[in-house]
């Protein structure tokens, strides 16, 4: 089995859609890969963090642009790619939280997403693109028996059955 695309998903840059991305990616990981439940939970959380960052990035410069999600699989791994059209950032310049003994730790309410992503998946790459950022998260684990080939394409932004977007708070 070569590296192949198993899911492609475009979601509006709105917070309420993050739960859908979490659910869909976790479903694909559970259905197709031999991963322990705990690893799928870790992937769900990493996906949520990356989507949150992507939506915030898009809303800064191009709120109408969707967040693009792809899931790829290879014999030994699953890769989740989340891409935005935002201004980009340098992941190495994201400040780390102060140690818990530092009273300033309580001022660190944000910025935990990147360290979480790095901890939760086996490999995390942050690729600066011409416009935007691509986050590629890899978890190692072979396929389940009964290989189900085929790619799922979804464009959530074009679903007609979804309720109208709630205003961002």
């Amino acid at each position: 089995m070569q590296r192949s695309l198993v899911l492609e998903l475009d979601v509006p840059s709105s917070a309420e859609y993050i739960a859908i991305v979490r659910l869909v990616v976790a479903s694909v990981a559970t259905a197709r890969r031999a991963l322990a439940d705990e690893r799928v939970d870790d992937l769900k959380l990493a996906v949520s963090e990356a989507c949150t960052n992507a939506i915030e990035a898009n809303r800064r410069v191009s709120p109408a642009a969707p967040v693009h999600v792809e899931v790829w699989e290879s014999p030994d791994r699953l890769e989740v790619c989340i891409e935005d059209s935002g201004p980009g950032f340098d992941p190495d310049r994201v400040a780390s939280p102060p140690p818990f003994t530092d009273p300033g730790r309580l001022n660190f309410e944000r910025g935990l997403g990147i360290p979480l992503i790095r901890t939760l998946v086996d490999n995390a790459a942050f690729v600066r693109k011409q416009q935007g950022t691509l986050v590629r998260m890899t978890v190692f684990g072979g396929p389940l028996d009964g290989d189900d080939t085929g790619t799922i394409y979804m464009d959530v932004s074009r679903f007609s059955g979804l309720p109208p977007l709630a205003p961002e708070s």
């Binding site: 917070a15 309420e16 993050i18 739960a19 979490r22 705990e38 939970d41 769900k44 959380l45 949520s48 963090e49 949150t52 939506i55 939280p97 140690p99 818990f100 003994t101 730790r105 309580l106 001022n107 660190f108 309410e109 944000r110 935990l112 997403g113 360290p115 979480l116 901890t119 939760l120 708070s169």
Partner: protein, 114 residues
């Protein structure tokens, strides 16, 4: 996606806020608003019960840290109830198990804090 927020004032001076559902960037503002409301009502000892939480990301952590900071600035405190490994893991990875007092039940949180 609904976020359940239930306030229990039966263990004075403690207020137990039971959270149910998924806490992410979409739902976390409701949790923040509730914590701000409790502080503005004069509550100073708040126990946030996370046993009904199915998912919590860094946005939720940020709201809890903000709540703790707000309460401490009013000479109060915020403690947590959490026994689920998948939720505890998020606190452990971020080092926040050393910032929050985390208990196995609301009763334990109240008795240990006294």
């Amino acid at each position: 996606m609904e976020l359940g927020l239930e306030v229990d004032d039966s263990r004075q001076p403690y207020t137990v806020l039971a959270v149910k559902g998924e806490v992410d960037v979409y739902t976390a503002p409701r949790l923040r608003e509730k914590l701000v409301e409790l502080v503005s009502q004069g509550k100073r000892q708040v126990v946030v019960d996370l046993e009904g939480v199915e998912f919590l990301d860094s946005t939720g952590l940020g709201v809890l840290v903000g709540g703790l900071k707000r309460l401490r600035s009013h000479d109060g405190d915020l403690s947590l109830v959490c026994t689920q490994p998948r939720i505890l893991k998020v606190f452990e990875i971020t080092g926040l198990t050393n910032v929050f007092s985390i208990f196995a039940s609301a009763d334990e949180a109240v008795s240990m804090s006294n």
